[in-house]
Symmetry: D2
Subunit: 345 residues, 4 copies
Amino acid sequence: MLLVMHKEATDEQIDSVMSTVTENGYTPHPIPGGERLSIGILNNKGPVDGSKFLALKGVKEAIPVTRPYKLVSREFKGEDTVITVSGVNIGNGGPTLIAGPCAIESEAQALTIAERVQESGAHIFRGGAFKPRTSPYSFQGLGLEGLEILSRVREKTGMPVVTEVLDYENFDMVEQYADIVQIGTRNMQNFSLLRRAGLCKKPILLKRGFAATIDEWLMAAEYILAEGNAQVVLCERGVRTFVNHSRNTLDLSAVPVVKRESHLPIIVDPSHAAGRRDQVIPLSRAAVAVEADGLMVEVHNAPEKALSDGPQSLYPEQFHLLCRQVQAIHGNLHENGFGGDAVSA
Amino acid sequence: MLLVMHKEATDEQIDSVMSTVTENGYTPHPIPGGERLSIGILNNKGPVDGSKFLALKGVKEAIPVTRPYKLVSREFKGEDTVITVSGVNIGNGGPTLIAGPCAIESEAQALTIAERVQESGAHIFRGGAFKPRTSPYSFQGLGLEGLEILSRVREKTGMPVVTEVLDYENFDMVEQYADIVQIGTRNMQNFSLLRRAGLCKKPILLKRGFAATIDEWLMAAEYILAEGNAQVVLCERGVRTFVNHSRNTLDLSAVPVVKRESHLPIIVDPSHAAGRRDQVIPLSRAAVAVEADGLMVEVHNAPEKALSDGPQSLYPEQFHLLCRQVQAIHGNLHENGFGGDAVSA
Amino acid sequence: MLLVMHKEATDEQIDSVMSTVTENGYTPHPIPGGERLSIGILNNKGPVDGSKFLALKGVKEAIPVTRPYKLVSREFKGEDTVITVSGVNIGNGGPTLIAGPCAIESEAQALTIAERVQESGAHIFRGGAFKPRTSPYSFQGLGLEGLEILSRVREKTGMPVVTEVLDYENFDMVEQYADIVQIGTRNMQNFSLLRRAGLCKKPILLKRGFAATIDEWLMAAEYILAEGNAQVVLCERGVRTFVNHSRNTLDLSAVPVVKRESHLPIIVDPSHAAGRRDQVIPLSRAAVAVEADGLMVEVHNAPEKALSDGPQSLYPEQFHLLCRQVQAIHGNLHENGFGGDAVSA
Amino acid sequence: MLLVMHKEATDEQIDSVMSTVTENGYTPHPIPGGERLSIGILNNKGPVDGSKFLALKGVKEAIPVTRPYKLVSREFKGEDTVITVSGVNIGNGGPTLIAGPCAIESEAQALTIAERVQESGAHIFRGGAFKPRTSPYSFQGLGLEGLEILSRVREKTGMPVVTEVLDYENFDMVEQYADIVQIGTRNMQNFSLLRRAGLCKKPILLKRGFAATIDEWLMAAEYILAEGNAQVVLCERGVRTFVNHSRNTLDLSAVPVVKRESHLPIIVDPSHAAGRRDQVIPLSRAAVAVEADGLMVEVHNAPEKALSDGPQSLYPEQFHLLCRQVQAIHGNLHENGFGGDAVSA
C-alpha cells in the first residue's frame, strides 16, 4: 500500500500518518517525490485495508501494491530513477558505457586500458580488485593495491570507477575507493551483503544471479532499498541454460520486463554472458536496441595475457567499434522518438 | 574434406575425381560455385587423407572440414546463401519481414491482416493451415481450406506465403500451395520429414528446436541439404529455460554463431520466444541489431479473439511501429558499414 | 466431465446419453470399466454444466475433470492400467525389465545379448531397427532386416520385443514385427505419429521429450488414447539441463507425479539419462525405489564396438548385478507393504 | 601432484620435502594418512614435473592430480572420509538421518518435533535460526534465541544439531552453538564465508548451489579444506531447470559422481528439491538407493502453520514411515553386499 500525501500536507499530518501506520503493526517508509511525499506501508502479511488511512488528514490517495517487491516497483515510484556519479548519469536516456579489464593487474595495465576506452567513449571505468574465483588457487585480485590503482585511474582520467565487493568484511574499504560498488552474480542473494549495501552512501551495481528469476532479483534490490540506499543499478549478465555455444544465455527480454516492473536503471554485461569475444559486439548492439540504460564491457590491451577472462575481453579497437555502433543505434532510436515503448506497449 | 577443382577442370577430370572418392568408400557431393566446382567428401568415419586426392588431375585444393555438419558449413561454402522467392530475397543484407496470424481463421481475417502488414512493410505473409497443438482437443487449423485461403492472399497481395507442414503425409499438399514450407520447433528432429523437405523444390524455413543446440540444428539442416535442397532458412525462436517472465528465452547469440558456422540465412521469431505482446517490439529491434536476416512476427487484427496465440500477437499498428524501428536500425548499421562483424571478429 | 452410468444402465439409455452429449456440441467417449460404463465428455471449451446430463436416465454421477488431459487422467479412470504383452505385465506391481542393445547390428549380436539378459531376468527385449540419428551420415539402423532379426529373437527366446518407429511411413511395417511400438523422445510431439499410434493394436511405449513438461507428455499420450489405443506405457528418460556430468538429468519425481495424475504405467530409462555406464546401476535402483513400473536398459556384449551409444551400454554381467539389486529393493518394499504411498500421500 | 612419503620417512625428510616444494614456488599441504604421510602440491599453474621431487629422500611416489580440485579429490585421498559428531557417523555406511523444521519457531515446537523424529530414527536435529529469505519482509528466523533453543534440544535429546550460518559476522555465534554448521545453496560461492568455514573446528554441511556444476561444488569444498577444515559433508538439494512439477529437479546422478571424484560424504535433501510433501518419501528412498550417506528432511508437527516452507514439511508420522522404508532399502543393499558399485563400476 502506498499513501500519496497532498502537496500541501503539513509535517504534522505526515507524522501523524506515520504513527498510525506503525500503530497498525506496519512499517512506514517515506518516499520523497518532486512535488509531494508518499508513504509506503511495509511488512504487511496480507492485503492492507486502505480506508482507515484515507480518512487521515493530508492523505490524498491509497494505492495498493500488488507485487512482492515494494520500494523498487513502479507502483511505488512511477518515474525512472536516474543515478548520477561524478557527472555521469545512468538511467537518463543514453547508453552509459562502462569498460575496463576483468581484473586490475598493474597501474600500467589499468591506465593504458582506461585511456583507450575513454578515448572511444567510455564514461565509467571498471576493474576488479577482489575477484570471486571458482578455485582457491586462482589469482584472487590485487586487493587494496588494486583499489589504490583505481583511485589513480580516476585522478588521471576523471572517470568514476566501479569495482566489486566480495564480502561484508571488506565493504568499508571498497566503499572508500569506489564510486559505484558492484555486487556480483554469486552474491545476489548474500543477504547480509545486500543489507550492508543498503547502508552505503554510494550507488550499488547489482548483477543478476546467473540462475535468478526477475522476481528474485528485484527482491534482492529491495533488500538494499529497504535499508535506505535507493541508488541501485541492475545489470543483466546472462543466465545458465543448456546452451553450449556461449557461457551463459543473455536474457534480453529482462530489460523491458524490468523497466515495466521497476523504476531502477538496468544495464547489460555482454562479456560475461558470451564468454567469447566474438559475440560481444553483436550482443552490445542488441542490448542498446532493447533500450538498456548502459553496457558494461570487458576490454584488455593484451587479452591473451590477461590474468582472468581473457577470451571474452575485447581489444581496444573492438571497443572503439562497439561504441560507434551502439551510439548510432541509440541516436537513431531517439531521433525517431521510439523510446519508452517497452513500458507503454 | 572438400576438394576444390581448378577453374579449368574438365568434365572428365571431375568424373574421375568423383569415381575415386566413391572407390575409397566415401560419398562425393558436387557443390557448384560461381567460378569453380567443389566436391564434398561425405560419409567418412574419421579424418580423410587428402593427399591421395590432391594428386588427381583438376584438383586445386583439399580443405579439411572440421565440423560434424558439412554441406551447411562455411568451410564447404564461404559466401552467404541468398534465397529468392517471388522476387523477395532472404539473406541479402536487409531484414526480410514475415508477418501474419498464428492460424488462418477465415479469408476475411487473412486478407485483412495481409493488407495491413503489407502496408507497413512486410515482404512475406505467414499463416498456419495445419497447427501443431499440445492438446488433441484444441483447434487444429483449417487444413486444405487454409491453404486455399493462403493462395488467394498471394493472388491479391502479390506476397509469397509461408506455412507449416506437420507431417510427411501432407507434404505434397503443403508444397503445392506454399512458397516457403515451414518445419516447426517440435519437428526439428523429425528426420523423415527433414528428408522429405530435402526433395522439395521450394525453400524450407527450419525452426530451431526449443531445446536444441546449434550443432543439432545445423545437423537437422544438413539432412535437408544432403537430399538435394540447398534452400534452407534457419529461424531462432527461443529456448526453454528456467526463466518465467517470457515463454522461452530468445538466444540472440545464436545469430552470430550460426553466421560464422554456416552460409545459410538466419531469421528470428520474437513472438514465440516472448509469448507476450509487450516484449515483441524490443526483441525485434535486438534481432535486427545482431544482424538477423529477417523477422517472423505474429500479427492479428483482433488478438483477443484469435483462435491461437492471441496474447503474443501484435496489433497491426504495433507491427507498423516495429517496421519503422527495425528499418531505422538496419539502415543505420549499413550506412555506417558495420555489417559482417559477426563473421569477421 | 465424466458421466458414470448405473450398473444396470441399458444400451438404450447409454445411446441416449451419447446422443445428448453430441447434441450439446461435445464428443462422447465411452470408457468401459469393470462393472459399469463411464462416458467422457470431450472437446468442451470451458466448464460443462453437468446438471443437464444428471437428469438423463441411467446416469449415476457427473464428475468434473479438472485437468487438460482427460482419458489419461486418474479422474477418468481410478485404477492402474496394466498392460499385458505375451504374458508379461507392465504396471502390475513389479519392475518389468526391458533390456537389449541400442541398435540391432546382426542376428548373432542380438541373440547373444538376448540370451544373456534373459538369463539375468529381463522380461522384454529391446533393440533399434530404425535409429534416429543427429547426423545424416551416421548409421541409421538395419531397417527391415533389423525387424526380422527381432522376430527371430522372439521365436528363440519367447521374449516379446520393443522397437522404435520413426515415422508414419514405416508404422505398418514396425507394427507388424514389434510387440510394443516405441515412440522416441524427439517424436513426443510428432502429432501425426501419435495419431497413427492411436490406431495401432499394440501397446505404445511413449518416451518423454527431453524438454517436455509432464503436462505436455500426458497430452501427447492423450492423442494416442483419443484415437482409441488405451495401451500406453510412459517412459521417463531424463531432461536437458545445464548439468554436464550426465547427458541428461533423470527426473525421478516425475514417477510419483505421473502416478498421481494418470492411471498409465510409467517406466524409467536410466541409460539415455546418464549417457555413461557407471551411473546406470545406481539410477536403476533409484527408479525402482520411487516405484517405477519397470526399467529399460541398454546392454551390449561388446560396448566398445557398439555402432551406437556404446559408452552407456552395460556389460551383460553388470546387467545381471542390476537385476539382483533392483529385485531386492522391490521385493523389500512390497514385503513391507510400502507400495502406493506416491499416490496416497 | 601428490607426494606419497615412505612409512619410515623421518620428520627431517618431510621438512626437507616441504621446503623444496616451497622453493619451487608451490604450496605444500601435508595430508596425514593411516600409515604414511602425503604432501599435496598446490598453487601450481600447470603440470608439475614430479621427477625433481622423486629424487628427494623419503619420497615413495609422485601421483599427478588431474582434477582442478585437489584436497577433496579421490586422487589425493583414496578412502572415504567419515565424519563423527557426538557419536554419530556420516559417511560410514549409513544413511544418517537429519530431520527437523525449516525454522525454529519456539522451544515447544522444536522439542515436540525433535522428540518425534528421534523416536522414528533421526540421528541429528536440524532447525534454522537464521533464515535466508527472498523477501526482506519475510520472517528471518529467531537468531540467537533460536540457537539457544537448539542447545536445549541437544541437552534434552542428546542429538547433535545442525543449523545454517548466513554470514561471516554471525559465524562465531553459530559455531558456538551448532554441532554442524550449514552453508546454504545461495552461499555456495560466498568465498569469504567458505574461507571462514575452513577455520571452523566443527564439520561443515555444504549445500550444492541450485545452479552449480559438480566441479564448482567441489571447488567450493576445496576452499574449506584449503584453510584446514577437512570435515565437510556435501548435500545435493536439487537444481533449477525448466521442470515445473517440483520446485527443483533432484539430481541423483550427482551422488555416484561425487563418490567417484571425492572422498567426502554426500547426503541428499529431498524436501527442498521437491518443494512438495508428496514427493519427499519416494525421493528419500531413491536417495538411499543411490547410496547417499544420509538424508536431510524437513518435518513439522503442524506444517499448515509453519512460518516457512510448510508445504514441503512432512508430518511426523510420514517421517516415521520414511525411516522404516529407507532403513529397509539400505539394510537390503548391504546384506546383499551391493555397496560400492558407484565407485568401482
